[in-house]
Subunit: 255 residues, 2 copies
């Protein structure tokens, strides 16, 4: 029996990245697509419980179902499981994101929120992103690796009910050097706000910023994609700083 | 010199929880409040870069500044630092959230997204939540402990540039038993969707769900608040599953 693969993204159902990913996944299993009807980048792990959610059937055929949804990527995964499939899929894949989701971007990314939803429910899940923000980004260099990574996950499952954050470099003439299984790099966004005035002379601000890599290691996702490798980071949901528990336990909380 | 404390939340600037927290923090330092002008629960780590952000001055006095903002909790922290203060605050506090943010709720919570923003910028940050969803929740049992935890962080800083996720039980007649410094519990949301039809007979869905604790340990945040202890979880940003790196490195990616 073919595996059931649930696909979503955060760039919206019409994005080139998800269309590319759908075509690859149809080679591997029965596919159910539930993706946001508009771009949802930067939505993080937002979920929609104060507004009604709607599903809009786009396409239905043998081994294929496609819906758009007015919610976030995390909503799409929840609806896919509970309303459309009425059971757990064998795999969740999210992307291909137009732009990288390395390092702390896992926390801002709707693409990766969908993947973390998988881990929360012990469903194997993979997020794919390419370090190219163009809406017409080239994804041909990812095909072979997306198929191979996905086949591995379908065969082996994922350790500790975790999930994978997979980032590709942008396509380069020389071709990808290979795969690195690495840790999440240390980096942050150094924001700048551009101040403007509206026609009523009231201030408003546009958020932008520069991504700052502060990791000097060579065993992390930022290093890997900067050096034309694919970065695979195995992800787990526990954010506890275990080494800090003892130290903080020694504090006095009675004064 | 008094420390500069930046306060935000996700229930919105008028919520009882943030008003209570402001009053406590004014005992400890100079206070700058920048909080969402409407409730932002469940917004996760959403950031606003496709719409302009606005700040609305509410109050200004000696050692006190208060703004509402049309953005998310993460936006509030970014604006507070870069536009209002034009420097890093000494501390970020977020809350008091009406409702707990234990376990994986750290990923859904706007309150905790603001705190994680602090960790990303190496600013000490604490999220406070009470396991009582009522808009008129009682916070009096938190006062002593919020002051003591905050004083400890101002004096000692936080290990490894991390942050704290602090959850209080709802107020009970017997009084709080004490503080436990613990790990993030294992739990998930088991969603249900209520299907309804609009006046044009088209289906829509309301997301709701039950929180399922699957952690049998007694050293985690869920156990602590269920047993009338305050749960302090030290948090760090690295979500890498280090134990999985070796295993996945052995996969064959060339087929």
């Amino acid at each position: 029996m073919k595996p059931v693969i649930l696909i979503t993204n955060d760039d919206g159902i019409s994005a080139k990245g998800i269309r590319y990913l759908i075509q690859l996944m149809c080679q591997l299993g029965e596919v159910v697509v539930i993706a946001p009807d508009k771009p949802q980048s930067g939505m993080g792990h937002a979920v929609t419980f104060s507004n009604p959610l709607r599903l809009n059937l786009i396409s239905s055929g043998p081994n294929y179902l496609e819906y758009s949804c007015n919610g976030t990527p995390a909503d799409c995964v929840k609806l896919g499981q509970k309303v459309v499939l009425k059971q757990k899929p064998d795999l969740i894949v999210s992307g291909i994101n137009h732009g990288s989701n390395t390092s702390v971007n896992i926390l801002y990314s709707g693409t990766m929120a969908a993947v973390l939803e998988g881990a929360m429910e012990s469903i194997p899940a993979i997020g794919f992103s390419v370090n190219d923000y163009s809406p017409i980004a080239d994804f041909d260099h990812t095909e072979k690796y997306i198929l191979s990574i996905t086949r591995n996950v379908l065969q082996n499952g994922l350790p500790h009910n975790g999930c994978l954050n997979v980032n590709f470099p942008a396509r380069q003439a020389e071709g990808i050097k290979g795969v690195k299984v690495v840790r999440q790099g240390r980096a942050y966004w150094d924001e700048t706000f551009e101040e403007r005035k509206d026609p009523r002379h009231r201030k408003y601000y546009w958020l932008s910023g520069e991504f700052r890599n502060i990791d000097s290691g060579t065993d992390n996702d930022e290093w890997a994609i900067a050096n034309n490798y694919i970065a695979i980071v195995p992800i787990q949901l526990d954010m506890t700083d275990y080494a800090a528990i003892k130290k903080i336990s020694e504090w006095n909380f009675n004064d």
